[in-house]
Symmetry: D2
Subunit: 349 residues, 4 copies
């Protein structure tokens, strides 16, 4: 084993709650070219527990302390939204790039102050955590819109369903916590700002507490495009986020049943991969990553040499069967006990 | 930026053809806790081109040279199959772990010699590149079989389609290059060896050259389970690898239309995610990886602070619309030119 | 052949245009217990052509003439909508049942006059041609709503797409000719009246002429339920009429991909028939109807005795194969030329 | 009401068991241009009960009695298969057309005697009840094969699943009662005879009694085409009859999820109707049939004049909303109690 050569990004994660600890795990164990240099939380004990999952990460109690320490090249900000403005202004002042979980801040006035601070700083430092822009289906739809391959985009229909909302969920949270993702999606797909919003509420489910649910939100963009959102946070059926885009010459659906469904004249359906490279890309990546990790621990837990031998015997029998038109028996040497503890079945991740 | 601390696996890739260069790229740029320490090929020029994509990788011309150098902790073997036996015996002798692209070797006799050498070496060193075992659908089906949640597995039906085969493809290659994956899949799903194989060939496509295509292969496992394979290497429609498993109490289909389709009494269909963590897991991972990489290059190319501000303004309008039952206009401050070159639309990978 | 005994309904079809001639064909050749006794149109030549397709139907030029003749027990009214009021008032006055193609009349004032006339007549005589209420998917959804098996209905989303509209199509026709079906569907599903309507129009397709297309219509019913309609009459993709119903405990979709798609907790998909009686009901009906009709013409054009013989030989070979584990050859007697002109493949209807 | 004019086929149904009584009901109430003139069964009481559902049908106890009576123009034969030969020979001798439920006879020797008798009679009289040839999906697939629009047919894969088989089901019945339909389907699709059959049996379900289940049947046709059948008569999931046809240039699936699924290069999916005439053909037919039947009973049970009025009011509001951009209220006159008992919701059939 060796010491790696290339540069790595030292990232401090501020906020050690659910999203923060998820990001620590992701950065430490599933992201290339980075490591977690610090976990920051006023609850230092919580920060310590999370940091323990990230090797040599230091534990700090405040953004001030972090910025004074100089141990981070960049920050992931995962505190509650009402604390974002103060932290962001300090981070901007320190000139550090920051991945800020949504929302940027809870209201447009404070958000605008952050924007103004960033503009004053003279370079972009902030990325906001609208993760849907990184989903394969959203990207394919965005690409389809931008390419104009189905003509101009005419209409968007969004459905956003959660299995159930917490008891304390409010009408305001429907907008701020859930519909906000659809606002960003409309802006992402169209490349335009939203110019107006309306909300209608009809029958509501008996399963909701104080929140009125479902609600029907309609927005319009600068060029006049209408997008509507069915938001239903107690839908029971699971988590489903679906968008249907209507174009001049066809439809695209994402997020329902399959990643990307295309409808053109006379036909609706799914795409078929062009080859094994795209079909099994994730499988190849996982195969190699798991092999590397098992090998670092002195183990082999994928398909074994025995699997290679047994399939070679099947192939030989298969070619004979092809030639002779018979049922060919596959004869194997006795299986060494050596292989018996080995499953050949890598753990599900 | 800093120098990382944790151990890394130094991997040599032997064979700089298509699969070898893919593995170099994967190891160098998409796999954690590893780096490519050497690229080995008798065609040193080709090895050099591939190594250039992997930072400090050395270029070597033979396995002997590699093993003498001591610069690799493990090997990925990606030469043509007929060269595997000799290389594997040397690598086993050197005690290095090896990820060997399929086939282990082209025939059962040589494969058994490799198995015997590994057994003699006293510990497992070889993993064979049956990458399907790492595909999400295959894993879900394996898990369903092992859990017996649908009762005992009774029957497997496989369909393997390639868009078209090279002109020189032969009947033997149908078995050795294509059906071999189904042999391994049957062994993986059942945890049993295959005991017999038969092949029937009926009408063949006019699109094939000398190969008879399609073919219908049937295998049986130790407990008597039948699995049949429709193999069609000039199917025109694309690359499609589909398995249907029949259980005592239901059916599962993988690879056709969706990752995992379940049929139980009276109903057939797809699953819905339980929450955003599973639904958007890949999106979160990609978001963070792209942010890390852009930040290492001094850039921000995901959703910007402006996106955060604009959605906050939409939310404020949304809450007002909810309360007033009106169409609320969204008023934004003038957009600083600062943000104008920024697309907020990360590149498709 | 014999003369039938049971009573038949003598129906006059008024209006010999597209819908009228379709109804004449349907009544004369595809409907039980009825016959077309008259075809009525001011264009007597057109009426004559249509009547020729209906055996002994008389040709008349006006509703007055029809009512004076006494040759109809009931009327199908298929003239343009603006002519409906006058005809309906006369038919009500004559006490005849009438199936009136939609619309009842083009505006609510005249429609109310017709309602008042029917009420004054003391019994129901008019059925309006909202044919969707007879579609299997619409009925299944109605049944699901009424049974409350998925809890209360909370929201309806309708999509109505035509491949393209005539050049002269107008905004008003979007409502009167297309959305009218969705208005009726909402009333049918909910059993409630619609209390308000709004329409929003955003980007419009370059393919439309003077009509603004698509449009987004929202209605609300007496209990507050919201239903929205995406109407797009130049959608290019074909004719697609889709409704999605959101319930407290699940979703139902009709008209898109399959007749009836159900989503409940964790799962989305299609139903499987309980047995061959439901699966092949239409096939049995068609089999017998085509056999009757062929027999009346002295022909047999379904599966022949030879088909019965050949399958019996296959079954005998199958049972032997089952017993012996061999490939059993099927030996047939020479096929009499007698059967050679016979296809066993009934014409598509 | 009147007495109809056109000729009708007088049909005798022989055998008053399940299939026989179904056919009586179908002929008497759902088939045009025919009536049931006699029901024949050795169990005269059973025949009488069934005949009561068919108006003026006479009750007879034997085929001899039937043929002597001269009251039938044609026969539907629905006795158990082992009784078919004797009855068919008599019916052929009498020169009557007969729709014979499958099987023609239970074994090839007796079936050939029937064929020979028909040939000797000099004209075709027998149609065998392979009802699948009348199913829309089967017809579409047959049409696709015959048109060669996807190139030559290369392979057929059939799946036949019953929810569960009777306890007394045997291996022989798997072939004679279930697979026989697939034998006919292969012959129908290809227009060729089957030349060999093989059967393999692997793991069997614990849910079956003495029958081995599932079984895997392979047949080959005259030109060499291979078709295989997965037959599983205790599949639990419901009744599912699926065929997949592999062509040189694409795939077609029938019977699984949708009526007809097409896969061509790069794409898999469903078709969209060209217009409302095809989309709602069944609905139109049912609308008119139910209106005729309700009218014969002096009732109206479809959409009423009130429905026509209420939708006209919605349309007027919709056009105003379109023009004004407002939420327009729909004002209706008070609903006459006259309409209140009326559901507008025709019974499901």
């Amino acid at each position: 084993m060796s010491t790696p050569q290339q540069d790595e990004l030292r990232v401090a994660v501020v906020g050690a709650g659910r999203m923060g600890s998820d990001h620590v795990d992701r950065l430490a164990h599933h992201t290339l070219r980075t490591r977690v240099s610090a976990v920051v939380d006023v609850d230092v004990e919580r920060a310590g527990t999370v940091a323990a999952n990230a090797g040599g990460a230091e534990v700090l109690s405040s953004v001030d302390e972090l910025l004074a320490s100089g141990i981070a090249d960049a920050v992931v900000l995962a505190t509650p939204g009402f604390l974002h403005e103060e932290a962001l202004l300090k981070i901007i002042d320190a000139g550090l790039p920051v991945l800020c979980e949504k929302p940027l801040t809870p209201d447009p006035e404070s958000a605008l102050r952050v924007v103004e601070a960033e503009v004053a700083a003279g370079r972009q430092l902030i990325q906001v955590g609208f993760m849907r822009r990184f989903d394969a289906g959203y990207r394919r739809l965005k690409e389809t819109i931008d390419s104009a391959e189905l003509g101009e985009l005419l209409m968007l229909h969004h459905q956003h369903r959660n299995p159930e909302a917490p008891a304390e969920f409010t009408d305001e949270m429907v907008i701020h916590d859930s519909v906000v993702h659809e606002f960003d999606a409309v802006r992402y797909f169209t490349g335009e700002e939203i110019t107006n919003v309306s909300v209608r509420i009809g029958r509501t489910t008996s399963r909701a507490g104080t929140v009125r649910d479902p609600q029907h939100v309609t927005v319009q963009t600068q060029s006049g495009l209408l997008a509507d959102v069915e938001i239903f946070v107690n839908a029971q059926i699971g988590y489903q986020v679906h968008t249907q885009a209507t174009f001049e010459n066809g439809l695209v659906k994402i997020g329902e049943g399959s990643e990307f469904e295309l409808t053109t004249a006379g036909r609706s359906g799914h795409e078929i991969d062009a080859g094994f490279v795209t079909r099994f890309r994730d499988a190849y990546d996982l195969e190699v990553q798991q092999w590397v990790d098992a090998t670092l621990h002195g183990r082999i837990d994928g398909p074994s040499a025995w699997d290679g031998y047994a399939t070679a015997a099947c192939c030989a029998a298969g070619v004979a069967a092809q030639r002779n038109g018979t049922i060919e028996h596959v004869e194997l040497a006795p299986k060494p006990s050596f292989y018996s503890s080995h499953t050949g079945s890598p753990a599900l991740t």
